[in-house]
Amino acid sequence: MIPAAFDYHAPTSLSEAVALLSKHGDTAKVLSGGQSLLPLLKLRLGQAGHLIDIGRIPGLEYIKEEGGMLRIGGRTRESALERSEVVRTRYPILLDTAQVIADPLVRNMATVGGNLAHGDPGNDHPATMLVLGAQVVATGPKAERVIPIDGFFVGLFTTALQPDEIVTEIRIPAPPARSGGAYVKFERKVGDYATAAAAAFVTLGASGLVERAGIALTNAGPKPVRSTAAEKLLTGRRPDAAALGEAARAAGQSATPSADRRGAADYKKEMAGVLALRALTKAVQRAGGR
């Protein structure tokens, strides 16, 4: 399959890339890993007049902990997350997530910035970033701005990014002591988007009660779903089986999936609750709760 014709630009600096995006407006698209964009163009489900390839701009691929934050460069590959020592030891929820995205070949190209910027509710990073309280750094013509993840996903394939903004960094607050997160996905086969998937993050207080909880779902509606109802149910409580079960059921209730080849809507809703329970249980274990 051959995409419709477009022009291609390979800027070597961020300012040059932003200038090209400003010049070409809505007809331009950022090309990062290309693993969502190129299939869309090939199938002609999407079109672009100009592709602005950010692949030759230095300094956009890194993973470092600094100033109480994990900083991930916008063009960091999924495979780099998988192989990162700091991710493995300090942010295992990110490893859970990266490992179930697409397949190892796709992950050698696909980028974290692209995964968020695509605004696909089937992508796996959004739920994880929601429970981690991440921030997306977008660089535009004037300056950079920091977009809290809660306001980032606007609708199906739509984010808060302006057409001339580039995701340059993702920031994740370093986990406080006694915190743990987990991402659990149910897929038909390697390389498939989630039938259902859930991310959970908990911080326990000195008394062992849940101080903060984050619960979010993948492929459970037109945009990634954060279940504040489930989070409220858990906050301030002892994370025992009864409390986790109640929160997971509430999370399942916040799913509004649609039926497709992966299953009926009711089935997916049920699975969202099941996976929320698994993710919560693992998160609590990792927090040292049990």
Binding site: M1, I2, P3, A4, A5, F6, D7, Y8, A10, L31, G34, Q35, L38, P39, L41, K42, L43, L51, D53, G55, S79, A102, D103, P104, L105, V106, N108, M109, V190, G191
Partner: protein, 160 residues
């Protein structure tokens, strides 16, 4: 029509080509450079028959633009053999009967080569994970895993 002149290295040899922006890398390799060992199985980023090494990493060349390869080092299945001698991976597939129709084989061997570069004694699980983006409709994977294990043993004997 937007045309670009690109320079790239394929299997150690420099090439220059003038291509349309939308030309896919797999088509540059197969049609312009006549390296038809890289296959197109699905054209939808699922099967891995088009896998090549892109600056050392295995990627699906049906989902990369030729212009993205400007200045890059590529290895295709044709580049595995050295001095008329099969590489360890190729020999492994030969010894262990790692193929039937052969359609997936170039991609499998490229992925296997990259795996052994990173890890010269992968477990069966690590092998199965590494090839999970390469589909084979014939073998049931058992002999492909054995072929990569065979190559791992041979590689370790060469570079202990």
């Amino acid at each position: 029509m937007a045309m670009h002149t690109i320079k790239l290295t394929v299997n150690g040899e420099p090439h220059e080509a003038t291509v349309e922006s939308r030309l896919l890398l797999v088509h540059l390799l197969r049609e312009n450079l006549r390296l038809t060992g890289t296959h197109i199985g699905c054209d939808t980023t699922h099967c891995g028959a088009c896998t090549i090494l892109f600056d050392g990493q295995p990627v699906k060349s049906c989902t990369v633009l030729a212009v993205q390869a400007d200045g890059r080092q590529l290895i295709t299945v044709e580049g595995l053999e050295k001095d008329n001698k099969l590489s360890a991976i190729q020999d492994g597939f030969y010894q262990e009967h790692g193929l039937q129709c052969g359609y997936c084989t170039p991609g499998m061997m490229i992925t296997g080569t990259a795996l052994l570069e990173r890890n010269n004694s992968p477990s069966e699980l690590e092998i199965r994970e590494a090839i999970s983006g390469n589909l084979c409709r014939c073998t049931g994977y058992v002999n492909i895993v054995k072929a990569i294990q065979h190559a791992a043993r041979a590689t370790k004997q060469e570079t202990p």
